[in-house]
Symmetry: C3
Subunit: 141 residues, 3 copies
């Protein structure tokens, strides 16, 4: 078995910007020569998450953000704001709930996602940011 | 280190059907000869999740479904329904929140779960379905 | 590639006690000689979780517990209580939602966390407990 660690760099708009990174992960996997193994996709930072969804506008622009906002509304008071003078307490809470790490198996060099299952990066922070995602491949070439 | 990719096929009732797949995962691990490593359990599809719970009827039939329904109630309007004419917007939202991937370490060929900690597959879709779960073992035989 | 399985033992206060275990995970990684790979951090048991957060008192003592309590309040009725006479139905529900497993890549022997991103163990149980966390390293030395 072998290992390779690569990175995706993303510019986001923040504010629950949901970005489909499936092709970028597959685009690291395909030329790597790895055939069977898993890709660990990891969001560096404490106000962003990785998960999967059917990437279509209804879910991505409306339905998911609505539930995230219900869980931890922006504009309310968070004690985190007292610590740093930040306004992103809700961003941190949402990121902790959804999680920053995803492991996707692959076979024959293809991620084993469903047809309607895309890997998404969610930037919960309250401003546009430049972000780093780790994509670590582990398996057999 | 070596790797092996296997599959579990499940027939579900949908509608937050929660199925204990612990023995099926262990049933792949035991005859494989792997001693130390990890099992990645991955739900293929965008309306299902993998997590752990104490598998007893109170939690599985009532307490967990109640909270899932609070998070994203079935029967409300989701923009996702406009995209496809589906009725499973709440299923997608719940699956994204809970996640589709779990990594469980094993030692001496045994999954390192607690006594009351079972691996569950949750089908959030709104109809009965035939489902595929990837179980990928990575480690030493 | 090689693998090593280690353990962290923690005494918690229960009741959503949130403990920063970043230095303990790094403290296993550093002397191990592993350079590139991933650490799987796994909470054994069904009333505890692993995730990441910026570990500062506002989030850890107030903001996160508040949202967890909104999701599954302590002191309400759960069917789980009928099964065992327990009082920790809300603990189980929260643990299933947040999840028990986290995979963190490392390079040059350093966990690839953000500066403000710490690994936390959350004990959702309703009493003080002694807990075991699995830290499994996989990669190249």
């Amino acid at each position: 078995m072998e290992i390779a660690t690569e990175y995706i760099h993303i510019k986001t708009k923040g504010n629950t910007d949901i970005i489909d990174i499936t092709e970028r992960v597959q685009g690291i996997l395909s030329p790597s020569g790895f055939r069977e193994g898993s890709a660990t996709v990891f969001a560096v930072g404490s106000t962003a998450s990785i998960t999967t969804v059917e990437y279509e506008p209804g879910l991505v622009k409306t339905d998911l953000p609505k539930v995230f906002n219900m869980l931890a509304p922006y504009g309310q008071h968070y004690e985190h704001h007292n610590t740093w003078g930040d306004d992103n307490g809700s961003s941190h809470v949402k990121a902790s709930l959804i999680g920053c790490s995803l492991v996707v198996p692959f076979v024959d060099g293809r991620l084993m996602l469903g047809t309607w299952q895309q890997i998404i990066y969610i930037d919960f922070d309250t401003r546009a940011r430049s972000r780093k995602v780790v994509v670590q491949l582990s398996g057999l070439r």
